[in-house]
């Protein structure tokens, strides 16, 4: 049965505690945030994606022929010139594969995973690599910038789903106005902070779709949601007893990588037979339902776990953060 055969995650090397915003601005606007992971000067979504993918490939018991790479990312360094092409260059000696970059929404990471699954469902014996990586940027004087972090997750998808079998995908779309957008040519996110609670509305819309299906009881919800959404998401999705990750509070808002990174955490903790729902939320939602496989415990023995990644990293001060993120650079003007 098609599903996840291996997985990996990566975090950047630096950490900023929420107290740094209190010292610099008088308060941290990201309520519930303890610290966030962020990219050093020489890191970006591409380098994080390569690191996560290398771990996922390294965990495979034997080499497989990857026929496609799907890269979910809202912060690639180029608008044209696929950064997804850098991943195979760094990972494979084989260039005979489909490479697709999915961007423009916090759903992009889960969309990449679902696309990889659908690629494998479309042909017998196919393998694909799904990579989600992000490092969203915001203006230094914007309150929503306080939450913005970075992370990456990668999944090798194939015909036997030894780690987690794919059950079903769900999607809802919802146009939003004023929350989390970035015009063409801009590097920083904008948010008019209208308090329209768009993510809650998207979650509720997804919950309505889920309630119409017969997905049963889910053990783990992998959302990467912020503290506000976390309070109501399980109930909105009709899974009030599900385990929720609390990763947002320690890595920040990793954009389209948030939910896939949370899926990796769920796989780190899950047991065979447990159901995991992974949902990327923003201007609608894309979700994938999985059942943890019998090989899960064996395949996760090798390599770093999410808890170890979160506990690692060098803590720096706010000015160092601004410098590494190029927010004080006149040459790069805050661009990633």
């Amino acid at each position: 049965m098609v599903g996840i055969e291996s997985y990996g995650a990566a975090l950047p090397s630096l950490r900023l505690p929420a107290s740094a915003y209190v010292d610099a601005w008088g308060a941290c606007a990201a309520r519930g945030l303890k610290q966030k992971a962020f990219c050093a000067y020489d890191e970006d979504a591409v380098t994080l994606g390569v690191n996560a993918a290398r771990l996922a490939l390294d965990r495979l018991p034997s080499d497989v022929e990857i026929g496609a790479v799907f890269f979910g990312v809202t912060t690639p360094p180029y608008e044209e010139k696929p950064s997804a092409a850098t991943l195979p260059t760094a990972l494979f000696d084989n260039a005979v594969m489909r490479v697709t970059e999915i961007t423009g929404s916090p759903q992009a990471g889960v969309q990449a995973l679902v696309s990889a699954i659908e690629f494998c469902l479309a042909g017998k014996g196919r393998h694909a690599l799904a990579v989600a990586a992000d490092a969203p940027m915001g203006p230094a004087d914007a309150s929503y910038e306080h939450a913005l972090g970075a992370a990456a997750a990668a999944f090798v998808v194939g015909p036997n789903g030894a780690v987690a079998q794919f059950e079903e995908s769900f999607s809802v779309t919802r146009e939003t106005f004023g929350s989390r957008f970035r015009r063409h040519g801009e590097d920083s996110l904008s948010d008019l902070e209208l308090r329209t609670r768009d993510n809650l509305a998207s979650t509720q819309a997804l919950g309505a779709v889920l309630s119409a299906s017969k997905l049963g009881k889910v053990k783990h919800l992998a959302l990467g949601a912020d503290a506000g959404l976390m309070r109501s998401a399980a109930k909105s999705l009709g899974q009030p007893d599900a385990n929720m990750d609390a990763l947002w509070s320690v890595i920040g808002d990793a954009g389209s990588a948030s939910a896939p990174f949370a899926l990796v955490a769920a796989l780190d903790a899950g047991r065979a037979g447990e159901k995991i729902l992974c949902a990327g939320i923003g201007s609608g939602a894309t979700a994938g339902l999985f059942t943890a496989g019998k090989e899960l415990a064996k395949r996760r023995r090798k390599g770093v776990k999410v808890a170890e990644l979160v506990a690692s990293g060098k803590i720096v001060d706010y000015v160092t953060y601004l410098k590494h993120r190029r927010m004080l650079s006149s040459r790069f003007g805050g661009s990633g």
Binding site: S13, A40, Y41, D42, E43, D44, V46, T47, V50, N51, P77, T86, T89, A90, L91, D93, V304, S312, K314, K323, H324, R326, L328, S329, R331, F332
Partner: protein, 139 residues
Amino acid sequence: MTSYVSLPMFGANVDERLRLIAGKCNGCGQLAYPQRPVCTKCGGDQFEDTPLSGEGSIYTYSMVAGNGAPSEFDDEQTMTGDVLCGVVELKEGPRVMVRLADTDPEQLEIGMKVSAVVRRLYDQEGIVRYGTKFVPQKS
């Protein structure tokens, strides 16, 4: 000062740099990384691509302080301070000049175990130059 590498030259061996592929001399078996047209040991000119593990140890290191780094690193040095460089002896034998990352000068030691990671080397002519740096191995 600059150490300008043209984009065609950069692109010509990008696989070799991102995936650490050495050339193994068909004549004597010596590994060359970065790859060379002629073997320094036997003069042979036929090589076989051989992937390296990306693991090694610091043979020597140096810190480029102040504004001493080439111009493509100007912004990085202004933003993050001293640039750390070194020679890493790879597990398979070749010694290679590298950038070191995720460490402070006072933490570096000769013989320290390091691993290869893909990082942004610099940003020039609107193109991000990705390459390999070495970071201390997690204990």
